[in-house]
């Protein structure tokens, strides 16, 4: 495994508790993230995102499998984590200390205290003016920004960010997204971004993995994932029952209110219309709608356990 691979998960599993009370938080995760990528880790709440991140930064030990960063097993060679900056779950600090002191404590604990770096980071995350205020008086968004500054203290090559836009207002979210993009594009930092905000991942990430019930259900390049299920052909016709009957002879046709969603590729649109017209059905509207990541995500997380890689190097595996 070369330095080109920033993160590799090998059959990574974590079970909390024992016996009947055992909870499988993550199950046999396999994942490879290349250096320089912004990788999105999507999943609903409780899917296992934070557990995976805690395993990745060696805060918790796997029940089975291993996590590698730059080719090093994080359990056996924890020193490799010096190359990592992490914001795990919510940013937590000593509330009675001010922002600057908190960063100093973090830097000194990690053995990389540089006062100028702290000042620069406070400036960068927009907290220079608030650095002398107690963190207990910070808003959630300010704490998140301080958390980002804390993660950047050691000039990491890999940033692991767990829901970094939590608590930020829309403007703050936009800034954070631009900041993350800037990290990857300008500073060459690899970013592993966990989020349940699909819009965010769609805008920021190159590749994405979707996790549900502790298992990766999809993984691939964002654009490939979106293209995977063909764009939807949505038809409004009357009488709807007749139209449904006619179209179902050839395609799958779920109903969405007044719309019939025809599982035909857009280039077959004329065939759909022709079939309806020849059956004396009035066609009111036909539109082609591209799937959003949100729809993709809902499909993926509802389908159950299907591990599938697109645009990557893995073969399909259906369970």
């Amino acid at each position: 495994m070369s330095e080109k691979t920033a993160i590799r998960l090998e059959n990574l599993s974590k079970t909390f508790g024992r016996g009947e009370k055992a909870v499988q938080a993550v199950v046999n995760l396999n994942l490879e993230i290349q250096t320089g990528q912004i990788f999105g880790f999507l999943g609903p709440n409780g899917a296992g995102k934070t557990t995976t991140i805690r395993l990745l930064v060696d805060l918790i030990r796997p029940t089975k499998g291993a996590a590698f960063i730059y080719g090093q097993d994080v359990r056996r060679n924890p020193g490799v984590l010096r190359r990592v900056g992490a914001l795990v779950e919510d940013a937590t600090f000593y509330g009675y200390l001010n922002g600057r002191d908190n960063l100093e404590v973090l830097a000194r604990t990690a053995g990389n205290y540089r006062p100028k770096r702290i000042e620069a980071l406070l400036e960068q995350v927009g907290l220079a003016g608030e650095a002398n205020r107690r963190v207990s008086s910070y808003s959630t968004g300010m704490k998140q920004r301080l958390g980002i500054a804390g993660a950047l203290l050691g000039d990491p090559e890999l940033m692991i960010l767990d829901e970094p836009t939590n608590g930020l207002d829309p403007g703050g979210r936009q800034e954070m997204r631009a900041f993350i993009r800037g990290l990857a594009k300008q500073a060459g930092v690899t970013v592993f971004l966990s989020s349940h905000l699909l819009h965010e991942v769609e805008q920021v990430c190159d590749r994405v993995a979707i996790i549900n019930h502790g298992k990766i259900v999809r993984e691939g390049v964002v654009s490939d994932l979106l293209a995977e299920g063909q764009a939807q052909l949505r038809v409004q016709a009357s009488p709807q029952e007749s139209a449904l009957q006619v179209l179902q002879e050839t395609w799958e046709v779920p109903i969405d209110g007044e719309w019939l969603i025809v599982s035909a590729p857009p280039e077959e649109g004329h065939l759909v219309v022709a079939r309806l017209v020849t059956n004396d059905i009035h066609v009111h509207q036909v539109i082609v709608r591209k799937r959003t990541l949100e729809e993709y995500f809902i499909d993926a997380t509802q389908e159950g356990v299907i591990t599938k890689s697109i645009g990557g190097n893995k073969e399909d595996t259906h369970v």
Binding site: R61, L97, V105, A110
Partner: protein, 294 residues
């Protein structure tokens, strides 16, 4: 290591709520009492005698007496509660505040525990040294103001003897605080909460302080005479024994049924060091293997 110590110092010393109520209350409290009693001495002739009632009349004994709260039974039964609470919050607070997760990588954890222990103990020691200085100087001034006798007279010999005894007392105090720190660290690691850490730490400390009574009770209950001798392995006995050696030049031979041990100074040092290594080592092992989930 210096960087880690500095980080721990910032975290602890700047927690003003914690240090005010559990650490600085001691010197501030004694200073206030001495000032109040001195002022009250102006009210009447009877009240003028108050400093004599609260002081031993000897600055050497007054200054050394402050350390008794952490080193000797029965004073240590409750006297150790404040430093123990301070250290328990120092360790368990990290769980409650969710700040352990900021520490990467895992192999920093043993150093982190060690530096936290050093800083917490240093702060308590500073507070005790400061308090004994306040008591010595304060009572001296107070007695002088009210024309009360306060000795012994300053001389090179007195000073050397005092400093020797003070250093020995500080050493026992240091052992006491290291063992308390071990109790606090262990309790915090096991319970992962401030309240749990406090309660379990108090429990350990009380068990240690009351161990002789407990062993005597068990000896009588189980009819096993040798049980009392187990007391020689407790921190409380060995701190008392060291003190006895320093002051009297002989072992502390307790007159209780079944206790026959006569431990040398070196034995007590060894036992105390083993307690410290055992407690702190166990806390580090637990922490090192622990999943940080909060």
């Amino acid at each position: 290591m210096f960087s880690l110590l500095r980080a721990e110092w910032i975290k602890t010393a700047k927690n003003h709520l914690l240090t005010s109520f559990l650490i600085w209350i001691l010197p501030v409290g004694f200073a206030s009492l001495i000032i109040i009693f001195t002022i009250m001495g102006y009210v009447s002739e009877t009240m003028r005698q108050i400093p004599s009632a609260f002081s031993t009349g000897l600055w050497t004994s007054d200054m050394l007496g402050i350390w008794a709260v952490v080193i000797s039974f029965p004073g240590n039964l409750f006297g150790r509660m404040m430093p123990l609470a301070f250290m328990a919050v120092g360790f368990a607070g990290e769980y409650q505040w969710g700040t352990w997760k900021n520490i990467l990588p895992r192999n920093r954890r043993p150093l982190l525990i060690a530096s936290k222990l050093v800083v917490l103990i240093t702060i308590v020691m500073l507070s005790l040294v400061l308090t004994s200085l306040i008591v010595g100087v304060g009572w001296s001034v107070s007695h002088h103001i009210h024309d009360l006798p306060y000795g012994p007279e300053w001389s090179g010999e007195v000073l050397v003897e005092f400093l020797k005894l003070y250093a020995q007392t500080m050493l026992i105090g240091l052992f006491s605080l290291m063992i308390l720190g071990g109790f606090a660290a262990l309790s915090a690691m096991v319970t992962r909460s401030i309240l749990g850490g406090l309660l379990l730490g108090f429990f350990f400390s009380v068990i240690d302080a009351m161990s002789l009574g407990a062993l005597l009770f068990l000896r009588n209950l189980l009819q096993v005479p040798a049980l009392t001798n187990l007391y020689q392995y407790t921190p409380t006995y060995n701190m008392d024994n060291l003190r006895h050696w320093f002051i009297h030049g002989s072992a502390n031979t307790i007159v209780v049924p079944g206790f026959t041990a006569v431990l040398g100074m070196g034995d007590s040092f060894a036992i105390l060091i083993m307690w410290v290594i055992g407690l702190v080592g166990l806390a580090i092992i637990i922490f090192q293997r622990q999943d940080i989930t909060s």
